[in-house]
């Protein structure tokens, strides 16, 4: 091979590599932008405690939609029942999605209510901060996702989440959590818990749009978030939230 041939070949290799690399980056961007622009949305959820009837349909639907193990201790969303007694003791238990709640003994009960919970999709997410491999990240539209191929299942994020929203999926052995049903959002559908809620206790919307149901919800109600002192800036907004809830 003389120098001329060598240089020719080298030119081929370099240019084809460049084209390949350039194409793949472009292709990803195109595929995501074709139908849906992540930068045009910023999602949040509103939950009205006064409306929740604790029927557990959201938990049931979430498990079906997102292939969450059926056993009653893995949840992407769950509903807690708070019972506050007249002596100010508070008991909290998570509903079982398969059976209607028992009739509560009403003796000495000061007040009692249901609190639906899910990943708060924090604006400053501690789980993203602690992930040692960068498997969990925030998308442009404000949803925290877990890359199941990147996650090594170290459980650090599960420890770091102040809301207990994550669990280690026993089948995939990686961390799993609520994604606001991201695969539904991009198709223009609602998260499934919002879709099936019989009392519209859950409201979903885009905070970049004033006309979204969430915008109305946050204007019409006095809004609280869970554990505001941690400065995680949750994007799950509660209306009529009792002071005992944390």
């Amino acid at each position: 091979m003389d120098r001329r041939d060598f240089l020719k070949h080298l030119g081929w290799v370099i240019s084809s590599g460049g084209i390949l690399g350039g194409l793949s980056a472009d292709a990803w961007a195109k595929m995501l932008n074709k139908t849906y622009d992540t930068t045009k949305h910023y999602y949040g959820m509103g939950i009205d405690i006064d409306k929740c009837i604790g029927c557990g349909r959201c938990m049931q639907a979430c498990k079906t939609e997102n292939a969450v193990p059926a056993v009653p201790y893995y949840f992407r969303t769950w509903v807690e029942r708070y019972v506050i007694k007249t002596d100010r003791t508070v008991s909290v238990n998570t509903l079982n999605s398969d059976e209607p709640g028992d009739v509560l003994v009403e003796k000495d009960v000061l007040r009692s209510f249901f609190v639906p919970k899910l990943c708060n999709q924090c604006d400053h997410p501690p789980c993203v901060q602690v992930c040692p491999v960068g498997a969990t990240f925030k998308t442009d539209d404000g949803v925290i996702l877990v890359d199941s191929k990147r996650c090594i299942g170290c459980r650090y994020c599960i420890q770091a989440c102040p809301y207990g929203a994550r669990y280690l999926n026993p089948e995939t052995r990686v961390a799993d959590k609520c994604t606001f049903c991201y695969h539904r959002l991009v198709k223009g559908l609602l998260p499934v818990c919002v879709e099936v809620c019989p009392k519209q206790a859950r409201v979903f919307g885009d905070m970049k749009s004033i006309a979204s149901p969430l915008g109305r919800f946050t204007r019409m109600n006095k809004i609280h978030v869970l554990k505001p002192s941690l400065n995680t800036d949750p994007k799950v907004y509660y209306a009529n939230l009792d002071g005992e809830v944390n």
Binding site: R57, E65, S148, T179, Y182, H183, V192
Partner: protein, 248 residues
């Protein structure tokens, strides 16, 4: 230049060759074998989002049901279940949308499904219709009396207590036990069929209570006060709740 290579000891050339091969292997691995999304976080996240987006949906959403089913959504629109999504009761139906003849969604017909929402539970918000399944027509399927697409009480309630049982129970133990609801409230007949749009009246003046409780009123046995001097700034029910035991 050729002299320089010739002068190099053989072992140095071998080391150089090994080194060059090593560099080439590393270059090939980094450039061609490791996928680009493992090197660039932005690409990694994009591919992760791509996989997330590609996940199958199970729940089709309520809008799509109306495209084929005409009757039920029309009935449902006027009833109490108007805001209830079809799939809340019929389950995930995306497979049914894709293959309407082969896959049929579920249709709960037993009592326990309605009980998820309508079984009495004191943590539920007041006003939400609830029953005790042990005493409310035990073992009878709910759908024999109630149409789930437009649920209503099967017969128009005769007494106020059918819906306002809590007030009725409290009143039965109070001094007002023998006074009928209609003495203080006037309920239009339509209130029985559309309870939320037609609302009964409530007393709105002090003089109304004064008819029995003012000094010198003709009613015997009722405790009387001088209405002119007693709490003149307030209306009676700010201090006295007329339904509860003892009257205060």
């Amino acid at each position: 230049m050729k002299d320089f290579f010739k002068k190099l000891p053989e072992q140095a050339v071998r080391v150089a060759v090994v080194f060059l091969v090593f560099v080439a292997v590393v270059f090939v691995i980094r450039q061609f074998i490791i996928p680009p999304e493992m090197k660039e976080p932005a690409l990694q996240q994009a591919s992760s989002m791509e996989r997330e987006v590609a996940k199958e949906i199970q729940y089709a959403g309520a809008q799509i049901c109306e495209q084929c089913h005409e009757k039920e959504p029309q009935i449902k629109k006027i009833g109490y279940h108007r805001n209830l999504s079809c799939e809340s009761c019929h389950g995930a139906a995306q497979k049914h949308v894709e293959n309407p003849t082969e896959v049929k969604p579920t249709s709960p017909k037993k009592r326990d499904y309605c009980a998820y929402c309508h079984k009495y539970n004191s943590s539920r918000p007041t006003g939400f219709p609830q029953i005790n399944p042990d005493t409310h027509n035990p073992r009878k399927p709910c759908i024999t009396c109630h149409n789930p697409h437009n649920p209503k009480p099967p017969t128009t309630p005769r007494s106020c207590a059918a819906c306002h049982a809590q007030i009725e129970r409290a009143k039965a133990a109070s001094y007002h036990a023998l006074i009928a609801c209609s003495v203080c409230h006037t309920a239009p007949e339509k209130h029985k069929t559309s309870p939320r749009t037609v609302i009964p009246t409530k007393p709105d003046k002090r003089e109304f209570c004064g008819k029995c409780h003012d000094k010198g009123s003709p009613r015997k046995g009722a405790p009387t006060v001088d209405m002119a001097a007693h709490g003149e700034k307030y209306v009676c029910w700010q201090c006295h709740y007329p339904h509860t035991l003892g009257g205060i």
